[in-house]
């Protein structure tokens, strides 16, 4: 618990020098939502501990990653640190329209989600990552139930990844099965790992899985705006979803509208917060591979990367 003591000491020192500057922030706790994947949990703790260092009270609450935007909107939680374009863009935009929350800036990171395979799959299907090559080896991915066709394990239905539509639009020899949860995806990869069975599943980055199973995304026809709305866009003139997902999706922060007035200093810091893909992967690794508890991982990360986050604090500290 050494680092905690350090942190406390520095907090004490800070608050003495900075009482004037931070006096405006409300003493009510800033409520930070945490979800069920490691990078988000650690990042929330990192930012939470930065807020605490500024003298704010912070509280964490576990919420659903889609429902959270409704909670931010109502002010039940104060902010959201990982808004993924692909996964949560729709929920975020819906809440944005209703009002009550706003975009608090981007991270310096890109997100991507698409068909993905662990590296060993390449042995059975050397033409990868091109999707045409994948389609030619479809039979390699066949299982008992698919009868000759390849099997692609898509994300849960409610993630709306349109795997079935894409298979039809591109005329692929694949059957799309929907997993019920992220855990189900990992279990499939984990089971395939032992015998190096070729599999192709839905996956995304940044994500802990990259550290555990090296792999690549399948390269589909490049994403063009309108691919999901206008049939004429993309290689198949008569179908929607005939492109890959955007390879450069945004990763945003969102804030409750009331945050600016209630915790002005914390809000100013939040708008400056920006992590890179490498930093996010590092945070996930501390928990997923090194098995630290999230708050310990956050403290460790803060200690090791002081130069990164010191600049985000309000001037005067």
């Amino acid at each position: 618990m050494n680092f905690r003591a350090n942190l406390l000491a520095s907090t004490a020192a800070l608050s003495m020098t900075a009482t004037v500057g931070f006096a405006e922030d409300s003493s009510d706790p800033i409520v930070i939502p945490i979800h069920n994947w490691s990078s988000q949990i650690v990042m929330s703790n990192v930012v939470g501990q930065i807020f605490e260092e500024m003298g704010n009270n912070v509280e964490y609450v576990t919420t659903d990653s889609q429902a959270v935007y409704e909670s931010v909107r109502l002010g039940d939680v104060t902010l959201e640190l990982e808004v993924w374009e692909g996964a949560f863009g729709a929920s975020f935009r819906a809440a944005l329209e209703k009002g009550g929350l706003h975009d608090a800036g981007d991270h310096n990171a890109v997100t991507r989600e698409d068909w993905w395979y662990p590296m060993w799959t390449k042995d059975a299907c050397p033409g990868l990552p091109s999707w045409e090559a994948l389609n030619e080896c479809a039979s390699v991915f066949a299982t008992a139930e698919t009868g000759g066709k390849g099997r692609y394990l898509d994300g849960p239905v409610d993630w709306l990844k349109h795997g079935k539509e894409r298979v039809e639009a591109l005329g692929m020899d694949f059957v799309v099965i929907n997993a019920g949860s992220a855990a189900a995806l990992w279990a499939e990869i984990g089971a395939a790992e032992a015998d190096k069975t070729p599999v192709v599943v839905f996956n995304w980055t940044p994500n802990f899985a990259e550290a555990v199973w090296p792999g690549e995304f399948v390269e589909f026809p490049e994403w063009v705006d309108g691919c999901d709305k206008d049939p004429s866009v993309g290689p198949n003139p008569d179908a929607l979803y005939d492109c890959g997902n955007p390879a450069q999706g945004y990763l945003k922060k969102a804030a409750w509208d009331g945050m600016k007035d209630k915790w002005p200093d914390a809000y100013a810091t939040l708008t400056k917060v920006s992590f890179t893909n490498a930093q996010i992967a590092e945070m996930a690794k501390l928990v997923d591979v090194d098995e630290l508890e999230p708050e310990e991982a956050a403290a460790e990360w803060l200690e090791a990367n002081e130069d990164v986050w010191r600049g985000w604090l309000p001037s005067g500290s």
């Binding site: 490691s38 576990t62 409704e70 939680v77 394990l153 239905v157 409610d158 019920g180 310990e296």
Partner: protein, 664 residues
């Protein structure tokens, strides 16, 4: 007992050759054969005919809910006030005491050693050394594997939800006993509450009581109320007239009658209710992880989502230990009779155990000030073997022999059994399907269940979710059939010797308290995301009651009967088939019924694997605010479950009467 022998014979024949059944099944068959020429509306209810029930419900809920933003009056103001006021306060107090959350009264968290010591003393008071060991040991394990904080988060909610459920359940139970009209009104409500899937509790809880521990506590409380009400009413009704008479003669007022006469006399039933409240609360509090309750369940979900089999297994062990401890302790409390001391016994003798508990508490509180490890076990000091267990599990699942067996099972079951069966069920025209269900209800339960079956399944047909309901039912039926094939033979074998019966029952207990979604990951690794995985993970759960009730049923066959069979020179097989099984059948039917209820419960959780049934849709609604849809989906599950429940319970009741056994 003499007249028992004769009614055994008609048991087998009682089901068949009923003209009504033949007519129903005949009509169903006719509809199936005529399917190619049937008009579309006889195959599926056309979408235009489906009433927009979800929208109506949404409007209705929206109306009674009110609005926080605009201040439109409604229920939500009351519930939010309750959630943010008294409930948050209570949860804050327990959370502060147990895990040191920054809330009133702002104490430091209790050192784990003090909690373990007090648990051991309570265990000793209730059941001697063995329970002391279990109680203390559970908490020592929890601390040592580094799960103290999350376990305390769970227990701090439990400590509020369980007493709340107890108080509400007791009050409703007393009211139901006092007023017949209230009992008639509340019974169907309780039946629905007991069959409605837990996902349906979660969404309203979040909307009305705010995401986080408050919603978790409310969902947990509601889930645990029904058995408390039922047991209270049952206990109060059974109070002997002599006791009531004695109370009246000593001039009790009405309140005195209730608190001094009725409730103490119904103590056993009420305490059984308490036991059930605790167990249901614990089961639910883990599942509230789906709406973001932190604690053991939340950690478990997070561990599963980052594919840590070992750590999730350890959390599972903790949950089982806590469950078994609470279960055994509350059961010991049921049996324990109040001790009466002689007048003039000194205070510290009368309150020996209280003194012991306080002493142990103070001792460890002081000691932990000097010995850090007795206060808190840090992550790096803990004895968690997550990674090692991980390797063991993954290694075991990757053994070639295991793989080839599971591959075969997967192939045979999926391709030859499950998928054809599912397609067949989906192929049947809706009216024919309903007719078959009604015939089943009529044949086993009689007229009343058949009427309910008609009403319930017709409602499902008009809900707009027929196909998904059929897929749900398909998983349930397949799983229950499979678990009958496993559970009943297992029960028969185990019932032959007392030691084996005890051992298997212990396995049953453990399997039942092990949080169901831990099974899912290994199951997926073995069988992939497919129907087999869904069905087999339900089977693990449903085999338990079947085995348990088979053992109980067989072991409770009156000795005179088996002796009579022995004397007439029956072989073991004959004795089993002609005497024991028919006698045990009503009890086994209760187990069968429970298996179906469990299956309906588990099939919803199996959405985690990946299904196309109601559970998947229900899980989707959790991420939104679609109260109406959530409710319609939950209602479909409840209606189907209730149909089976009514039919089988009515059948078991009839058979029991026929055999002259008392109804359970």
């Amino acid at each position: 007992m003499v007249e028992i022998a004769s009614p055994i014979a008609p048991i087998r024949r009682s089901v068949s050759y009923d003209p009504v059944i033949i007519a129903l099944l005949g009509l169903a068959a006719l509809l199936c054969f005529a399917k190619p020429i049937l008009p579309d509306f006889l195959i599926r209810v056309p979408e235009a005919w489906v009433p927009p029930l979800a929208n109506w419900l949404d409007t209705f809920f929206e109306f009674i809910k009110g609005d926080l933003d605009t201040g439109r009056p409604g229920l939500i103001h009351l519930t939010r006030w309750f959630a943010e006021g008294p409930l948050a306060f209570l949860l804050g107090v327990t959370a502060n005491l147990l895990e040191g959350k920054h809330r009133w009264p702002f104490f430091d968290p209790l050192p784990w050693s003090t909690v373990a010591a007090v648990a051991a003393v309570i265990g000793y008071y209730l059941g001697g050394w063995r329970l002391a060991l279990l109680g203390g040991g559970t908490f020592v394990w929890t601390a040592l594997v580094g799960q103290w904080k999350i376990a305390m988060q769970t227990l701090s909610v439990l400590a509020v939800a369980a007493p709340l459920a107890f108080l509400i359940g007791l009050t409703l139970g007393i009211m139901a006993w006092k007023w017949g009209w209230f009992e008639r009104m509340i019974k169907p409500v309780l039946a629905i509450l007991q069959t409605i899937p837990f996902f349906t509790y979660l969404l309203p809880a979040v909307i009305f009581f705010k995401v986080g521990p408050t919603a978790g506590a409310i969902a947990t409380t509601i889930y645990a109320i029904p058995p408390m009400v039922l047991m209270t009413t049952l206990g109060l009704k059974k109070v002997a007239p002599e006791i009531i008479e004695a109370g009246k003669m000593s001039g009790c007022t009405r309140l005195q009658m209730l608190f001094r006469v009725f409730i103490p006399s119904a103590r056993t039933e009420i305490l059984v209710g308490v036991n059930q409240v605790i167990m249901l609360c614990l089961a639910m509090v883990v599942l509230t992880a789906f709406i973001g309750m932190p604690g053991l369940g939340g950690k478990l979900l997070a561990m599963m989502n980052s594919f840590k089999l070992g750590r999730s297994f350890e959390i599972g062990v903790t949950i089982v230990l806590v469950a078994i401890t609470l279960d055994r302790m509350s059961k010991a409390w049921v049996v324990k009779l109040p001790v009466h001391h002689e007048r003039g016994t000194p205070w510290h003798i009368r309150h020996k155990y209280l003194v012991m508990a306080v002493a142990a508490f103070v001792f460890f509180l002081l000691l932990s000030q000097f010995v850090d490890i007795l206060d808190k076990v840090g992550r790096k000091q803990s004895l968690s073997m997550g990674r090692e267990i991980d390797t063991v599990i993954k290694g075991a699942l990757a053994i070639d022999a295991v793989k080839s067996v599971t591959e075969t099972i997967r192939y045979v079951l999926n391709v030859w059994v499950l998928i054809p069966f599912r397609n067949a069920l989906l192929w049947i025209p809706t009216p024919a399907f309903i007719l078959v269900v009604v015939a089943f209800a009529w044949g086993f339960g009689g007229k009343r269940p058949a009427l309910f079956a008609t009403a319930f399944f017709t409602t499902v047909a008009f809900s707009g979710w027929w196909d998904r309901s059929v897929i749900t039912l398909y998983s349930v039926i397949s799983a229950v059939i499979l678990s009958v094939m496993i559970g009943v033979p297992l029960g028969i074998l185990a019932s032959r010797s007392k030691t084996w019966a005890t051992r298997i029952l212990l396995v049953c207990d453990t399997a039942q308290t092990f949080p169901s979604f831990i099974y899912l990951l290994p199951a997926i690794m073995l069988f992939g995301v497919s129907d087999v995985t869904v069905v087999l993970s339900i089977v693990i759960f449903t085999t338990v009651p079947l085995t348990r009730y088979t053992i109980e049923g067989l072991r409770n066959v009156p000795a005179e009967m088996t002796e009579a069979a022995d004397m007439s020179g029956a072989t073991r097989r004959q004795k089993l088939l002609n005497v024991q099984l028919p006698m045990a059948l009503p009890t086994m039917a209760v187990g069968f019924n429970q298996a179906i209820m469990f299956a309906f419960f588990m099939v919803i959780i199996a959405a985690f694997i990946g299904t196309q049934d109601l559970g998947q849709e229900l899980q989707r609604t959790l991420a939104g605010t679609d109260l109406g849809k959530n409710f319609v989906l939950g209602m479909n599950v409840a209606l189907m479950a209730l149909t089976f429940d009514l039919t089988l319970m009515s059948w078991a009741g009839k058979k029991n009467k026929m055999l002259g056994l008392s109804a359970r």
